[in-house]
Every structure is written in structure tokens, then in C-alpha cells.
Amino acid sequence: MKKLINDPKNVVQESVQGFGLAHADLVEVHPDPLFVSRRQPKSNKVGLVSGGGSGHEPLHAGYVGFGMLDAAVPGAVFTSPTPDAIIPATVAADSGAGVLHIVKNYTGDLLNFETAAEMAAAEGIEVRTVLVNDDVAVEDSLYTAGRRGVGGTVLVEKIAGAAAERGDDLDAVTAIAQRVNDNVRTMGVALSACTVPHAGVPSFDLEENEIEIGIGIHGEPGRHRIAMEPADGITARLLEPVLEDLGVGSGEQVLLFVNGMGGTPLSELYIVYRRATELLKERGIEIGRSLVGNYITALEMQGCSISVLRLDQELTELWDAPVHTAALRWGF
């Protein structure tokens, strides 16, 4: 596996530095410990901080800016960041109204953000946490670490960001973020694995004719492996459990999000999107908003995920609210 990198050790530093140079109008990059903060922080606005392992770009640094995150903390590739980086990011994001940590539900992220939140609280910052756990591929039971946070994270960050921007207080922003999480479900598929730079070998092995259903965003193997099949069939396999689990039905409005895993052409995502619109139509579900593209990735993995968010009027308005980040921009 060839990569456009230098020393694998410096991948995250160099990439985030490049990101900072390309988007100097939006963000500031703090090199050590590494985090990214919004260039023009507002005062007295609830601060939004997210973070996690790198390799999911544009998540999270690509979502720092007006109407979304105030700071992002990139860990090593697929490795959650450490408290010593999360704490200053939390401090930078705080403008007096408290800080919301948006944490994807992985043991590592959870533990590191938990520690950081305790320590930030000790410094007098009010911190709340929302755990994103939208991945229906994982059974949420005593026998697992719980559902993973995947595609829904982007939607939580956008919508909670809009709530913070309009002046909601910490309780309200937390409640909105939680409401998005409660109303979004996701399922993914991998056609190929990805290769973590320092590992140098693919994170799992797939035969030429196999695909992995229920994949996460870290190259973890998924729920089960099946023989390759046409995009229309795969779309149904992803969408149906999402709709079942969400319990969304005829007459309801949703946001349909087809996300690329990094190595899949945009054209293929639109083929999936097309079939998904047909399946939703058959069930009488209306697509109020949509998003198609590479928004939460797993390096160069080939595949996609489908997320469905149940919309109400407030969530729709917050989705439509202006946003100006490197990776999501409208109203500017």
C-alpha cells in the first residue's frame, strides 16, 4: 500500500499543519499538544469540542468554524487523542458558556474525553458530554462496548453547532445534540480494507469477491461477510436495518446521508443514493434534506455508509443554518 506521506510518525502533524495553512482564515493549529481551534471564537457561546483518532478526514478538523465546532482534537491515526490535548482544546473552546464534548462511542475516546472533562471541570469549565452511537451494525447490549459513533457524528456536530451559534445555553445545546443522536442511525459497508500508515498492511483481508457489511470507520471487521453484489442490493442491506432500528415510517421526513469511506468514487455514492431514494419512496418516507460525499472516512477504504436522521422542523432549520468550515459550507 503506497501512501502520499513522509515518515508515518509525522502523518498527523504534517497533515494538520497543511490543513491549517490551507484554511488559515478559519482555523488555528496548535502543534503541541496538537489541536485545532476556530480562528474567530465568539464570546459567551457554548463551545463545541470533538476529536478522535485521525484518518476520518474531513472529520473533525474540517468541521471547525462558524456554526459547527470550536475545536477539534486529532489523535494518532485511528487512536483517540489524549487528555493533555483535549484539555487545552476545551479551554480554547470555552468562552464562558461552557463546553460540549461530542464523543464517538469507542472505549478509547470515552476514557480519554472522560479524563479530560474531569480535569477541565477542575479548572472551572462546565463540560457536558454527548456520546454518539448510531451504528446499527453493533448490538447495543451488555456483551459489547455499545454501538459505535459513525456517520451520525457529522450531523450531530452540524446541528448542535447551529444551536450553539444561535445562542442556546449548554443544557439546550446538549439536548439538541442528544436529540440528533437519538434520531439517527447508520450502517456501512467496505469493499476493501484500509491500511494504517505505521502498520503497513491492510486492517483486514477481503477476498476479491467479498464485501464486509456493518463495517466501522477504523478498519475493524464488520458484522458479516457476503459475496459481492450489485449496488442496489447493497443499498437495501444497509438502509433496511437503519430504517427498522430507527422505526421511521410513512409520512415522516428524514435527512438521507450517503457517506463515502474515502476510496470510493463520488459517482458510486450517487448510485447508492439513487437506489436509497427509491426504497424510501416505497415506504412513503420523505427525503427532506440530503448529503452525499466523503464526510467521515476510514483512510482510503472503499465503501460507504448510509445514515438516516429523522427530521422535525427545528432540526431542519438548524441543518439549514449557515455554516462555514473547510468541509461544510453554506450561507456564506
Binding site: G53, G75, T82, T107, N112, T115, S203, H218, P221
Partner: protein
């Protein structure tokens, strides 16, 4: 004598061992996790090495440095877990300038309890707890039998190694491997394996220091 010098020697040996087995840990984690355990732990121990210059009075001080550095450099699940473990170990070791067998067993139990408090895993969940728990039990037994500190550590290390091996048939119920369900069966848990490596170094450096 399990004094601060031993603690330093142990950390150095553990760093070397983790570096040596880095690819093996990566491979274990690749199969049932995300393939970063070896890299992360190695980065952490290298960072500890770089900070070992200071003069230490007690093993507790070394444990504390180890804890804080792993906590802030390793990341992932293992970072906070090992961080908490060694922080609790430091507290348990207190001001003692060297650990006797009794104190050693208390330190090991405190470390294990820290991991359990933090990660909420039970024995049998296929995590590093499955190496720490038999290690603590073996240490307690060795103390009861009146063995020396280095013998206590040797027993603990052997039990940890057995515990790591014994994770193979288990189905993971905590951490990233739990997403695999039954497919996690048949593979050794990387965190249990790194625990075994680290305790093995504790024992061998203890024997050298004896």
C-alpha cells in the same frame, strides 16, 4: 531490592520489550481491533524513556511518571487504562523506598482495580483484566507462601502470561474486539499480551536486582 532503581530498570526493560514486540502487538490488534496497540504503547514507553533522567527516591515516583506519560502519550483505550493502573500503583506504593512482598501485592491489586474501575470490564471479557487478575491472584498466593518480592513478581508474570493465552478462546465483551462478536474467538487479546510483556520485565529486572 524493589527500590526506585529497580523501577527504572523495569521501565527500561519494558520499553525495550514493547519495542521488540511492537509488530506482534500490532498484528494481534489488527485481527480483532484496529492495529494500533503496539504502535501506541511503543510511542508511550519511548516517551517515558526520554523522561527517565530525573533522580527518583521511591518506586512510587517512577510509577507516577510512567502513569502520567502513558496517559498523555498513548491514547486509545490502553492509554487511560495503563495510566490509571500505574497512578493507582503509585498511590499504593506511597512513600516506601522499596517494596516488600506484601506491599508489592497491594500495588499489583491497586493497578488491577484501577483498570476495572476505569474500563468496567469483568474477568472473562477478553481484556487486559484477564492478565491482571490471575497475576494479582498469583501474587497473593505467593505472599501467603512467604515468597520474596522477586518470586512474587515471577509468579505474577507467569500467571499473566497464562492469562493472556487463556484469552484466546474467549468472546470479547468490552473494547473494540467486542464488535466482532463470535469472530473474536480464537485470537489473543493484545492488551492482555502487553500486560504479560510488562510484568515479565518487572519479574526479570526484580531477579537481577535481588
Amino acid at each position: 531490592m524493589l527500590d526506585s532503581e529497580w523501577a527504572v530498570a523495569w521501565v527500561k526493560a519494558a520499553a525495550a520489550s514493547v519495542a521488540e514486540h511492537k509488530m506482534e502487538l500490532i498484528e494481534l490488534d489488527r485481527v480483532i481491533g484496529d492495529g494500533d496497540h503496539g504502535e501506541n504503547l511503543d510511542r508511550g514507553f519511548q516517551a517515558v524513556l526520554a523522561k527517565l533522567e530525573t533522580n527518583f527516591e521511591t518506586p512510587g515516583e517512577v510509577f507516577k511518571l510512567l502513569a502520567m506519560t502513558l496517559m498523555s502519550v498513548v491514547g486509545g483505550a490502553a492509554g487511560p487504562l495503563y495510566g490509571t493502573a500505574f497512578l493507582r500503583a503509585a498511590t499504593a506504593a506511597g512513600e516506601a523506598s522499596a517494596l516488600n512482598s506484601d506491599q508489592l501485592a497491594t500495588v499489583l491489586a491497586a493497578a488491577r482495580d484501577g483498570i476495572v474501575a476505569r474500563g468496567k470490564a469483568e474477568p472473562g471479557d477478553k481484556t487486559m483484566v484477564d492478565a491482571w487478575t490471575p497475576a494479582v491472584e498469583a501474587a497473593d498466593e505467593a505472599v501467603e507462601n512467604g515468597l520474596s518480592p522477586e518470586e512474587v513478581l515471577t509468579a505474577a508474570a507467569a500467571a499473566a502470561e497464562q492469562g493472556a493465552t487463556d484469552t484466546e478462546p474467549l468472546q470479547a465483551r468490552k473494547g473494540r474486539a467486542s464488535y466482532l462478536g463470535e469472530r473474536s474467538i480464537g485470537h489473543r487479546d493484545p492488551g492482555a499480551q502487553s500486560t504479560a510483556l510488562i510484568l515479565r520485565c518487572a519479574a526479570s529486572t526484580a531477579r537481577d536486582a535481588a
